[in-house]
Symmetry: C2
Subunit: 331 residues, 2 copies
C-alpha cells in the first residue's frame, strides 16, 4: 500500500523532528474533486466528525415533531462538547424535557475535556457523569429518536438497536456508500462506527451543504443541523477549541467538526463543497494544521479568518521555560 504524503511536520531548531502523513478530499455534490491529497478511497473511521449525519434520524423519524428540538439542542446533537457548565446544563435540560435523565445515557462518564471545567470539578471534589461525556448531546438526540419511534431506549447504543440502524441508514443515504459489518468498530462512546472511503464522507458533507442528491426531507434536515451547529459553535466544541473558533470566524459559512484520531470533516456551505481529512497516525494537532492549510486554500478567508487559520497551520513548540524552539506546521 502506498504511503500517503507528509501533510504536516514538526521542526525543532533547523531540522525536521516528526512527520505526519494524511489524506484529504474537497468535493462538490456532483462528486467533482476540487482538491485532494493521498489515498482518498481508503476507508477510514469517521468517528465524531459525522455527528451531524448521525443526527439526521431526529428528522427522519420525526423526533423533531415530537420534541421540537431547539437549535441549541441540535447543535449539541452534532457536538463533541467540552463538558463546560453550559454544555452540561443544556444536555441535562434536553434530557429532562424528554422525561429522561443522565441515567438513560449509555455513553459512559469521563472528565470534562475543557481544562478549566476539569479543574473546577476537581477543586469541588466532584465526579464526572455521563453528562460530561463529550458525546452526551449526540446520545440525547439518539434517545429522542427512540422515544419518537416508541421503542425502548435501553441498549440504544447497540449495533442491532433500531436507533443505530436508523443512524447507519442515514449515513449510507448521505455518503452514497453502503456501510459494512466487515469494516466496523465501536466508538469511545459505545455506538458503532463504520469505516468508508474518505472521499465518501467529503461527498456526504457536500450533499448536506447543498441539499443536492438528498431527499427534500434530508436536505432540509441537513440545513437545520448545519444552521444550528454554525450558529452555536461554542456548543459544538468548547471555549478556545479550533472547531468553535473556526465556525465563529466564518459566521455560518463553514461547518467544521473534529473526530477522534485526527479526522476533520465539514463543508464550505456557500460553495456547496464538503471536505474530509484524516491524519494517518491519529495526531489531532497535526490534523488541525492540515485542516487549516486546506481551509486557507479553499474557504476564501478574510484577514481575520486567515490569521486564525495561520495559527493552526503554524503551531509554536516551546521549551519548559517557554522559549520558542520549533513548530508544528502544515506542508
Amino acid at each position: 500500500m502506498d504511503a500517503n504524503p507528509v501533510l504536516a511536520e514538526t521542526i525543532r531548531g533547523n531540522w525536521v523532528e516528526n512527520r505526519h502523513r494524511g489524506a484529504f478530499a474537497v468535493i462538490d455534490a456532483d462528486g467533482t474533486i476540487i482538491a485532494s491529497a493521498g489515498d482518498i478511497e481508503r476507508a477510514i473511521f469517521p468517528r465524531s466528525a459525522i455527528k451531524s449525519m448521525q443526527a439526521l434520524p431526529i428528522f427522519a423519524r420525526h423526533a423533531d415533531e415530537k420534541f421540537h428540538h431547539t437549535p441549541e439542542e441540535l447543535a449539541l446533537a452534532c457536538a463533541s462538547h467540552h463538558g463546560e457548565d453550559v454544555h452540561v446544563t443544556k444536555v441535562a435540560h434536553f434530557l429532562d424535557r424528554m422525561g429522561l435523565s443522565v441515567n438513560d445515557l449509555e455513553c459512559g462518564a469521563h472528565v470534562p475535556t475543557n481544562p478549566a471545567a476539569r479543574e473546577a470539578m476537581r477543586a469541588a471534589g466532584g465526579e464526572p457523569s455521563a453528562l460530561h461525556n463529550n458525546c452526551s448531546g449526540k446520545h440525547s438526540g439518539m434517545l429522542s429518536v427512540a422515544l419518537a419511534m416508541g421503542i425502548p431506549t435501553a441498549g440504544y447504543v447497540g449495533r442491532e438497536h433500531e436507533v443505530q440502524k436508523q443512524v447507519r441508514a442515514a449515513v449510507e443515504a448521505v455518503i452514497g456508500e453502503p456501510l459494512s459489518e466487515g469494516k466496523c468498530g465501536t466508538d469511545g462512546c459505545s455506538i458503532p462506527t463504520y469505516a468508508a472511503p474518505l472521499r465518501a464522507f467529503a461527498f456526504g458533507f457536500a450533499r448536506m451543504a447543498s441539499g443536492k442528491g438528498l431527499t427534500p426531507e434530508f436536505a432540509l434536515a441537513a440545513q437545520r443541523l448545519f444552521d444550528a451547529a454554525t450558529s452555536n459553535p461554542l456548543l459544538v466544541a468548547g471555549t478556545g477549541h479550533a472547531d468553535t473558533l473556526i465556525m465563529e470566524a466564518f459566521k455560518g459559512r463553514v461547518m467544521q467538526k473534529i473526530g477522534a484520531e485526527a479526522v476533520q470533516c465539514g463543508a464550505i456551505r456557500n460553495k456547496g463543497w464538503g471536505y474530509a481529512l484524516k491524519c494517518d497516525d491519529g495526531n489531532i494537532a497535526a490534523s488541525q494544521a492540515m485542516l487549516a492549510k486546506v481551509l486557507l486554500e479553499i474557504a476564501d478567508p478574510d484577514d481575520a479568518q486567515r490569521k486564525l487559520l495561520e495559527g493552526y497551520a503554524h503551531q509554536t513548540i516551546k521549551s519548559v521555560r517557554g522559549a520558542e524552539v520549533g513548530e508544528l506546521r502544515a506542508v
Copy 2:
C-alpha cells in the same frame, strides 16, 4: 523521500484506524547490522534517549573524582524521572551535596510526570519546581561537570557553554559521527539536541555496552552508567513506566531509555548490541509497541520478560465504559 514502513497500527473492531511508521537499527560495536527497518541513515533528534551518553563528561571531566557520584545519582543523570518523591528527594540531595540547590537548575519547572505524584501535589496545593522536571537529574550531573571544571555554572544549558561542548564531544566520540549546528535544536529542558543518523545512535549504544572502540576511560564510564541505570530502574523513569519495568525484568541485561517524540534507545548488554528506534510521528505508545517487538526478537526474553513485552506489543484500546474495542499493535 521514501516512507518508512508501518511498524505499528491501531485496530478498531475489524479495521485499521491509525498507522505509525518508523525505523530502527540493532547494531553491534563493529557496525554490523543485526536487524533494521526503514531509513536508518536519516538524522533524528535523539532527545532524552541518549542521556547516558550525555552523562559521560561526568567521568571525562573527573567530576566523579570530585563528588563520588553514587550509582543512584548516576542513574538520575541518565533519567527522565517521573517527579515522584523518591526522585525529587534524591536530586535535591545530589544538588545539596555539591553546595547547589534547585535555583541552580536551568531546566524549568513542570508538574510531575507520574499521575499519582501530580495528584498529590495538586491535593496539597503545591507548585512544581525544577526538581520535578524529568531532566533534573541530568542537569544535576551537568552541574557537577561545571563545578569539576571550575567554571561558572550559570548558563550551563547554552550551546556555547563549556559543559555542552563537553557533552557534544562525548556524544560524537561515542556515536562516531560529527554533530552539526546545521542539524540542531533546543530540547524541552533548554539544552541543545543534535540530530544524527539513527544508525549512529544504535552504534553508540553498542560501543557503550561492549566498550569496543571507546577509550578505556569512556568504556569504564559507560559500564558504570549502564550498571547504575539498570540497577536503579525506578530512578531512570518511574512507577509503572515501560523503561523501568523492562530494565527490572531484564535484571541488568537490557539498558533501555525513552526520548521525547518517540525515540527509544538502548542496549542488549550481554550481546554487546545497541539499538535505536524512532516512530516518525512522535507517538510514544506506538514507539513502545515497536520497541517491544524488537526486544521480543533480539533480547532472548524468558517467559516473564516475554509477557511484559507482549503487553506493549499489543495494547488494548477501551471505550469510555471500559469495553475492549481495539488495540495498538506492532506489525
